[in-house]
């Protein structure tokens, strides 16, 4: 697949504060790509640079190989769904959706059929003549999406579009967006700080922090094989444990040697180990790899969440089987569930550029 968008050595600072530092990003045609990170990580700035609302201090934006860095937003073949919907309050639903088409001089019949098509697509049939101010947040969001997609953009930019919706509606809209993307066959670039949203919808997740890309990959890849402690803690719960790589495929965690599958970290080298709480298996004392005692227990609905003191580390464990507080247990981790990461040389290096 060809790259539809490329950011090449893009840097941007506001008031001497570096927001993006030498960012490189390639976006393949017809993918759902999510820029994920905490607030202030540069994800929204990245989206605004792609949309043309912010000009980078240096670097280039390429659209289908063509340099569009200095092209204003009204000349770009992209459309944006804004965080706060940004529907025109003085126009009704139909006029909002028609706005872009009217500007490009489409015929009345074409515009009308497009409005109907878009309203159907976002499940808002029959709302054409309603005032946008009378719509609920979720409905406004759908109209904002309809207004963007009728222009048949090759790339749709979405800036935390579900941020203001409640949980149930947000989950419904996530499925709607996936369906829309598949029906339209265009590229979605989606900005969010919600890791669950990112994992649910994306083909590719780009985890950002402090203006750098921390890791880029499929949701499974990001979740199962985080490349550094930031990614591991930001995406889901995890146990991150100071450990020593004895040699290839063997790591000493909490004084016990665990077989693992990673290689190439050297011999007797300090590393960080990531183990997801659902990958820790509790067994009867003596039957696992490391004995400990349950210290906390919380019921979470789908599973129980327990903390187990073992080997001087408080392990976070998720299991559908309850183990009461004070019970002695034994921990076991399958080799392929142990993820080894190099230790950062310094605090700053948590934000290194990761080549993908």
């Amino acid at each position: 697949m060809a790259n539809i968008l490329e950011l090449v050595h893009v840097s941007k600072s506001f008031d001497n504060e570096m927001v993006l530092d030498d960012l490189n990003l390639e976006i393949k045609e017809n993918t759902f790509m999510t820029l994920l990170g905490p607030s202030g990580c540069g994800k929204t700035t990245t989206l605004r640079i792609i949309g043309g609302f912010t000009t980078p201090d240096s670097g280039k934006v390429l659209f289908e190989g063509r340099d569009i860095t200095n092209l204003p937003p009204n000349k770009r073949h992209l459309n944006t769904v804004f965080q706060k919907y940004a529907l025109f309050p003085h126009m009704n639903v139909g006029d909002n959706i028609a706005y872009g088409l009217k500007i490009s001089g489409k015929s009345k019949s074409y515009i009308d059929s497009k409005i109907d098509y878009a309203l159907k697509l976002v499940n808002m049939d029959g709302y054409k003549n309603r005032a946008v101010t009378q719509l609920s947040g979720g409905q406004q969001q759908r109209i904002a999406i309809a207004r963007a997609i009728v222009n048949e953009p090759k790339v749709l930019l979405l800036d935390e579009p579900l941020g203001a919706l409640d949980l149930k509606l947000r989950q419904d809209m996530q499925y709607e967006l996936i369906r829309l993307k598949n029906e339209l066959g265009i590229t979605f670039i989606y900005v969010t700080h919600d890791q669950e949203e990112a994992l649910t919808m994306s083909d590719t997740v780009v985890v950002m922090n402090q203006g750098y890309i921390q890791q880029m990959g499929s949701p499974e890849n990001i979740y199962n094989e985080p490349e550094n402690a930031f990614v591991a803690t930001f995406i889901g719960d995890s146990n991150i444990i100071d450990s020593i790589m004895i040699h290839d495929e063997l790591v000493r965690i909490c004084g016990v040697n665990f077989p693992c599958v990673d290689k190439g970290f050297g011999v007797n080298k300090p590393v960080d180990v990531v183990i997801r709480p659902e990958d820790v298996i509790l067994d009867e004392v003596g039957k696992g790899q490391l004995d400990g005692v349950v210290t906390h227990l919380i019921f979470k609905g789908v599973h129980y969440e327990m903390e187990v003191m073992a080997g001087g580390f408080e392990w976070l464990v998720q299991s559908t089987v309850l183990q009461p507080v004070g019970k002695e247990v034994s921990l076991r981790v399958d080799p392929f569930n142990i993820q080894i990461m190099n230790k950062p040389a310094s605090e700053d290096e948590e934000a290194v550029v990761v080549d993908v």
Partner: protein, 272 residues
Amino acid sequence: MSKNKLLSGPYLLFILCGTVIPLLAILYYALVDKNGSFTLRNIASVAEPVHLKALGLSLLLAFICTVICLLLAFPLGLLLRKSGGKNKGFVIFMLILPMWMNFLLRTIAWKVLLQKTGVINSILAALGISNGINIINTPYAVVLGMVYDFLPFMILPIYNVMIKIDNSLVEAAYDLGASSFKVMKDVLLPLSMPGIISGITMTFVPAMTTFAISQILGGGNIYLIGNIIELEFLHGGSRNVGSGLSMVMMVFILISMALLNKFDKNGEGTVI
């Protein structure tokens, strides 16, 4: 509830003495003759050529003044919105600064500036321009005075509405392909409407009813409806005729406001 009524007491008393009673008095005088018997002649006197001419001139000058104020204020609002920096407060401050001085004083200052041998002409003469500007005692000077006095009342409501327009609406319009002009016409102008309506109200009404500006800068040659009413009340005319004309003028203003409010669908920001 009764506590609230108590709190509103002073204001209600003020309204009663300052608005309701005087209005009723004007209405009474407008509908009776010198001897106190009912007549419509006071109101009908608006049809006298002198009065019609004054009313027409008042409408015309107030209209011109309002248009000029609007043409100055709207682009300034756009500019202030766009600049968005630290200068904003300073520009607004400079606009409001003259308002801290009594407007009669400011109007008289214009008279001094504009006189045939006044400051402006002296400077022009010193620069070798002998003809100078001769607009004192003409409607031009009156309009200039009106614009100078009432411009802040146009700028402030427009500015207040404009800076509150969410910038993402402007970005959304650009995003959908609109040019700068289209963004202005389709988004900023309609959304500024409440402020514009409010500004027009606050400019047109005082300009329509002024008599001081026309007296000072018109040199006794320009008779607006306000001047006629003043003459009738204070300078040997009939207060009945004055009251009759006042009622007519009020009706004119109410009609203008009603027409304006029709444009302002949301009803935000209007004064009346």
